[in-house]
Symmetry: C2
Subunit: 207 residues, 2 copies
Amino acid sequence: MQHHITLSDIEAQDKIYRLNLINSVSGYKSAQLIGTRSEAGKENLAVFSSVIHLGSNPPYIGFILRPTTVPRHSYSNFKAHGSFSLNAITADQIAAAHHSSASYPEGISEFEKTGLVAETKAGTHIPFVKGSPIQLLCSYENEYLIKENNTLLIVGMIQELFIDEGLLLEDGWVQLDKGKIVSINGLDGYALPQLLDRFPYARPKTD
Amino acid sequence: MQHHITLSDIEAQDKIYRLNLINSVSGYKSAQLIGTRSEAGKENLAVFSSVIHLGSNPPYIGFILRPTTVPRHSYSNFKAHGSFSLNAITADQIAAAHHSSASYPEGISEFEKTGLVAETKAGTHIPFVKGSPIQLLCSYENEYLIKENNTLLIVGMIQELFIDEGLLLEDGWVQLDKGKIVSINGLDGYALPQLLDRFPYARPKTD
């Protein structure tokens, strides 16, 4: 048996039910902490579940920023600074990572409040998350206003990658479950995937 | 120990290595089969790993279409027809689903070639994937050209949802692992997540 829900059913639901439902049904999402630094020098950290692959050459990523939700400090910071870090979230970090989505005033570092540890690297002032098995330094490239609901698609380019040993295979593929990297289910669920299989490049089946 | 890879290292790698690397490092992706029907009436099916949540009210989703890659039939079909289906991929369907990314000529149905079964529903001619625990009927709303690499962000609105019983909880949250729904690692890896935890809405921690 299936539940059948129409657009008018969705519109008639209360806000929390609708947020839970619509955030869940598009499937598993990536789980990243975005690290920035303000013009005043303060570190900022926020969970994002909308980071997507946009292209490999050049290496572009994108993510969605919702004008009505919390992490606006991240936005003003990477606009001012021109770069940000993406840090994959591990199973051990989920409680602290989720806590970073709390709305702290500007000037309060989510690192101090959540117990996550800032890691600095040579050549950049952008903070990374210590213990994250995949850390990316990205430059801010562009943004697109999605006029349907005033969200922003932010476009970034990967400038540097830091990947824990053991995850990076010979053909460049990075096995995420070797780093206990999680994915996000809806607004507030964290799940740990295990690899089932890899498939060769699909070619048409001849009869 | 960490591997440290710079943008110039990425650019110097061969294409397959770069595709594997950059497609993997942005984390787990959603796994969907997009179902369409051509103006001539033929069904089409293609794997997408870029479906994202754009908003809950109205319920918007987005996905990325790369001009240089295969599933262009899907594009011409949903532009012509105005709608498409999104079908969550289960662990049992991964081999067949991946096979649908093979480049079949227009007029060949991926349903026939992959063994996946088309399901029809009242009120629409758009095909769904039988056995998929979350099936969405979406309308095509808009598209945005990402000029950095000529990809398209397609914006769709959810018109109807069909969700298997047992996945939909009282507060509207849909527990994806109860449907054995998979996520995608890179270009060709399929992983099965298990829920670790859900967290309440994060509030600032007072000292």
